[in-house]
């Protein structure tokens, strides 16, 4: 009986690992992504059921399991339902932080209350689990707060002193970990936890918002490592393999993202915020920095659109903030009914996270085929009549190509300056994430349309309608 039971749970574990692997793999292809996500969720459920069969919790344990599951599950359900699409990056960071917290709690629980843990393997796993779990937690919460705008990048975090502080914290963690076997559950454990938490904050706080996606991806990888370490703590091989898989896959994804932004991981982690250092040199991108700005009204912009044969929209974070994706889609439909060729140029890091714009536009029912990635759309700009930049800034800055002194230099950008006419819809001349001026705004073919993206788009819609555009097709 015991043997067959063991074989049964082992088979469930193997199936779970296989499905998890297939899930991660499937998530990297558009056609299979949704099914793969469901598959991974199924695998997770399978792993939990398998474990419950194996450990057979007693009634008291069931009670606590039910309490924890109900609280966490319900909160997860509500958060996932309620959170707006614009806040997706922050949400992922929050979830990730909670995963790290869970690993941290398991290790602390075992260290503090599960007496007799004195063998070196258990202690090393506890130390690793506490260290990585605490960094994941505090780092993710800082990342979330920065993306939400609750936290700025304080100037003092940009001084070189921060490396000294972080190194001291790392040394403190290492020393505490080494002292742990002498007094398991005592002072070294608390020092390790405190030091790691502060280290997570110290490392994440100086990083600028533009690099946050990379940081979240890296922290996501850490939470896999934390899970694997927790697997060593409680002796679960399924946990080890799943944690290791997520940790390694997360590392690759982080690398892919870095490549898309033309940044190295080292410069993201230790280079500080792009904007804060550039701001000191370039005057912070204040309005005084611009001399040849042309601004125009929605009416003029609408006239240009009415004449155009080919229009490309470049969405950015401003579009997300204004929740203007539906107005944009409506405008695009109107133009299409007028015979205009419309597409959307998606920079890989437009918005606050790679893929942010795709998600947002998809929400407004923009056909997938019209969202063009950078490599596809850049050769098209020279034969584009009108480009409308909606709340994007750094990703269309031509200095990234032409100006070796610019902090953006080398970042692949959308070459909208090649188009015949460019309208930039923006609330003000404020700088983007990189905190520098944008040469595009001063080019002769560029005109600024100041205003909230949604208000401007609605203005364009009514202007175009009053010109009689789209009379043949009624749009609600």
């Amino acid at each position: 009986m015991t043997f067959s039971m063991e074989a049964f749970t082992a088979a469930i574990d193997l199936a779970a690992v296989l499905l998890l692997a297939l899930g991660i793999k499937g998530l990297s292809k558009v056609s299979s992504a949704r099914g793969a996500n469901a598959l991974a969720a199924l695998a997770m459920g399978l792993a939990v059921v398998g474990l419950l069969i194996e450990i057979r919790p007693d009634p008291i344990a069931w009670l606590w399991i039910a309490a924890g599951s109900a609280a966490g599950g319900l909160a997860g359900l509500v958060t996932a339902r309620r959170v707006p699409m614009t806040a997706m990056p922050e949400t992922v960071a929050l979830f990730n932080g909670c995963g790290g917290m869970a690993s941290l709690l398991v290790a602390m629980g075992v260290a503090l209350f599960d007496g007799g843990k004195s063998d070196i393997v258990a202690l090393v796993s506890i130390a690793v689990s506490v260290f990585v779990g605490a960094i994941t937690f505090s780092g993710s919460i800082v990342a979330m707060a920065k993306l939400q705008g609750w936290l700025d990048t304080p100037g003092w975090t940009q001084s070189r002193l921060r490396h000294g502080v972080n190194i001291s914290l790392a040394v403190l963690c290492l020393v505490s970990a080494v002292l742990l076997p002498g007094d398991p559950g005592g002072l070294p454990l608390w020092l390790l936890m405190g030091g790691s938490t502060l280290l997570g904050i110290g490392v994440t706080l100086p990083i600028g918002g533009a690099d946050m996606p990379v940081v979240i991806s890296l922290l996501n990888s850490y939470s896999g490592v934390a899970a694997a370490a927790a697997g060593f703590v409680v002796g679960s091989q399924l946990l080890i393999v799943a944690g290791a898989m997520v940790g390694a896959a997360g590392l690759i994804l982080t690398q892919v993202m870095c490549t898309a932004m033309n940044r190295s991981l080292v410069s993201v982690l230790f280079g500080g915020a792009l904007g804060a250092s550039a701001g000191a040199v370039g005057g912070g991108g204040s309005e005084a920095g611009y001399t040849r700005i042309t601004s125009c009204s929605a009416e003029e912009c609408a006239m240009a659109l009415e004449q155009a044969e080919r229009v490309v929209f470049v969405p950015g974070y401003g579009l997300a903030v204004a929740q203007a994706q539906h107005s944009l889609r409506e405008l695009a439909k109107l133009l299409e009914s007028h015979g205009v060729d419309v597409s959307y140029a998606i920079h890989p890091v437009a918005g606050r996270m790679p893929g942010h714009m795709n998600v947002l536009l998809a929400e407004a029912d923009v056909p997938y085929e019209q969202m063009l990635e950078m490599d596809l759309v850049n050769p098209e700009f020279p034969r584009t009549d009108v480009v409308i930049v909606l709340g994007a800034n750094d990703v269309v800055n031509p200095q990234a190509k032409n100006d070796p002194t610019s902090p953006l230099y080398g970042m692949p950008v959308l070459e909208v300056d090649q188009a015949r006419q460019v309208f930039v819809v923006k609330r003000s001349l404020g700088a983007g994430y990189a905190g520098i001026n944008n040469a595009l705004f001063e080019m002769p073919q560029t005109a600024m349309v100041f205003g909230d993206a949604k208000a401007v788009l609605n203005g364009l819609l009514s202007e175009l309608r009053s010109m009689g555009v789209g009379k043949t097709k009624v749009t609600a």
């Binding site: 996500n37 209350f113 890989p348």
Partner: protein, 97 residues
Amino acid sequence: MSPLTQSLWVLLLGSLLGLELIGKVPPTLHTPLMSGANAISGITVLASLTLIQQAGDNTALLVIGALSLGFALYNVIGGFLVTDRMLAMFRRKGDSR
């Protein structure tokens, strides 16, 4: 093989598998993939469950276990649902890929 060596092998092979799983990812999927992988990292639920089971009548351990289970499950349930919400938006007309 001792349990430790076995676990280290599992760690090694799991990491190698993870490195191979993802090759090229279209930028469209960066966020959903990150979110999905994040949900999977909530597999710490297994550790939380084990901890609760091992707690016996140690109330402090039961509380910590239930707390960590709550956090982990928040990550799992929220993560998978939010990923699904994102992916559900990629509707394709006559998709051939």
